[in-house]
């Protein structure tokens, strides 16, 4: 009976709830994290491992290709935040309103791209963006009288292709987050607003947006990391990890190049640690500013 009371107390209950996370973290994360961190200070070849101090990090700062990768990832992250937060949010609000008919169909279609295997969607997008005349992008540009264009060989159009692919894959998923977020809003608040004679736009800014904040913060946080860590989209579009003049190279792409293709795990771990630190700084700044760590009243 004693243990039962102990476990049922309000002081102990939270620890019981979070226990699985603590266990999983202790077993599956502590050792790999420490190892990866240690490896970033080592030069690891097939047969021996040597301690090199911060040499990997100093080399990174001078590595032009890495800097290109960082710039690409940062640009990509910025644009995905601009495109993949407000629009899916508006779509979700529309979807939640009573002006759209046959909602189920649209939701299903918007969600489909995320389900399609990357192997196949990569092939489809590569065919659409090919510089050959049969690609859809070139069909459009030819119809408009511009002739064919090398979409995947120029910086701006390469980024455009990446963003089109990102929007295609993730709009539906982000909309889904916002839709479920909208459901956490107590509908009596809208009724109150209606009584006050608020316009739909006022309702959106005064009720929906503030109350959707937890969801928005979530989407923002994962988008920051997903943007910085993007790799698959680039790999799909260029059928591999090399793009002309590295226009599609990203931080994780570079990590992959070093760690897997050149088997230089020490250097790759340094890249990974830098990514971790950058993502953490941006996200913690954002989370603290948004008051996520504040005690709830």
């Amino acid at each position: 009976m004693k243990t039962k009371n102990f476990l049922y107390s309000q002081k102990v209950a939270p620890y019981v709830f979070v226990l699985p996370f603590i266990l999983s973290f202790a077993v599956f994360w502590v050792y790999p994290l420490i190892t990866a961190f240690t490896m970033s200070f080592q030069k690891i070849t097939a047969t021996k491992t040597a301690w090199v101090g911060i040499a990997n990090y100093t080399k990174l700062l001078k590595d032009k290709v890495f800097l290109i990768a960082v710039a690409n990832s940062a640009k990509y992250m910025f644009f995905t935040l601009v495109l993949l937060i407000p629009f899916p949010m508006i779509f979700a609000v529309l979807m939640d309103s009573n002006i759209v008919k046959a909602k189920g169909v649209w939701k299903a279609i918007l969600y489909m791209p995320a389900l399609t295997s990357v192997v196949i969607s990569g092939t489809l997008f590569r065919l659409m963006f090919t510089e050959y005349k049969t690609g859809q992008m070139n069909l459009i540009s030819q119809a408009l009288g511009f002739g064919t264009y090398k979409w995947l060989k120029n910086g701006w159009s390469g980024m455009l292709a990446l963003l089109v692919l990102a929007c295609w894959r993730w709009t539906g998923v982000n909309m889904l987050y916002f839709l479920s977020g909208l459901k956490a809003i107590d509908t009596s608040l809208y009724e109150a607003a209606d009584i006050d004679g608020a316009t739909p736009i006022q309702k959106f800014f005064r009720v929906t947006l503030p109350l959707l904040k937890p969801t928005t913060i979530y989407v923002l946080t994962i988008s920051v990391y997903a943007g910085l860590a993007m790799f698959l989209e680039s790999y799909m579009l260029w059928a591999g990890n090399s793009s002309p003049n590295n226009i599609g190279l990203t931080i994780v792409g570079y990590l992959y190049k070093r760690g897997i293709e050149k088997n230089d795990m020490g250097y790759a771990c340094a890249v990974g640690v830098v990514l971790l630190i950058v993502a953490l700084i941006i996200n913690f700044a954002q989370l603290i500013m948004n008051g996520t760590f504040k005690k709830e009243d």
Binding site: Y8, Q10, P14, V16, F17, P20, V27, F28, P32, L33, A36, M39, F91, L94, N98, I99, V100, K101, G104, A108, L110, Y111, M112, P113, L115, T116, S117, V119, I120, L124, F125, L127, T134, Q136, T171, V173, L176, L179, S180, K183, A184, I185, D186, T187, D194, P214, T215, Y218, T221, I222, Y225, V252, L255, A268, G272, L275, L276, L287, F293, E296
Partner: protein, 291 residues
Amino acid sequence: MAKDKHRDLSHSPSHIVKSVLGTGFFVILCAIIAFPILAGLLASFRPGTELIRRGLAIDLNPTTMTLANYKYLFGGNADSIKYFMWYKNSLLITLTSVVLTLIICYFVAYGLTMYDFKLRNFLFTLVIATMMVPFEILMLPMYKEIIKLHLIDTYAGVIITGLCSASTIFFFRQYLSGLPKELLSAARIDGANEYYISVKIILPLAKPAFASMGILCAMGAWNAILWPLLVLKGAEKFTLPIGLNTLLTPYGNNYDVLIAGSMFGILPIFIIFLLFQKYIIDGMTAGAVKG
């Protein structure tokens, strides 16, 4: 109820205009989004060489379409047997991991949101931090660990490392933090214990979060490739994405099976989506706080 009020307005001319505009917007958006999938679907009814010959052409001419790829896929030949074996494995892994992940993550998030305890912010920081580590650098040490735990070449080894999914915990936490705290104190006053509250009072309110995370987790598990591949050995244990990826080689791609197989591979997650998404619709009702 709010909804009824809207319904009263729904016959006004301005509402019809809005409705046409709103629906029309989604029609256009969905047409664009659906294009590549439609093209892929059409391509699955043609021989793989056609895709190479003409690119991604939308061609509805029924005389050139054939069911050959699907016939082959369902034909009971060696490839088809393997395909459905991978399909089964993927279903098993996906269903198990979705159910376990949702349960575990909900309770962890519940603990992190509903209580004010010493380690709260520290643990939450850890949750966020684990989301930000690129898997590629953890791969090798995690692989060694799984060997030591004798979980190598088992589905348990594939599933276990992802059960405490940081992004799922985070989502639940954000969702739960939007719920009114009065619910808890009201229930405590009624004499309910902590665990009863978490299961019977809050959980039903979190249905939309469960639904969207269920869809998301299913998608992640269904499409995961690198970790399952490291853990599993032997084609009889492979999951569908691993199997489909073996059709792409530097020596040429088997588009016939690949496209048909991928298109058919969308189905289970799509079904999960259809089953779960209706729970996103029944969210909180007005005045839940009072209850």
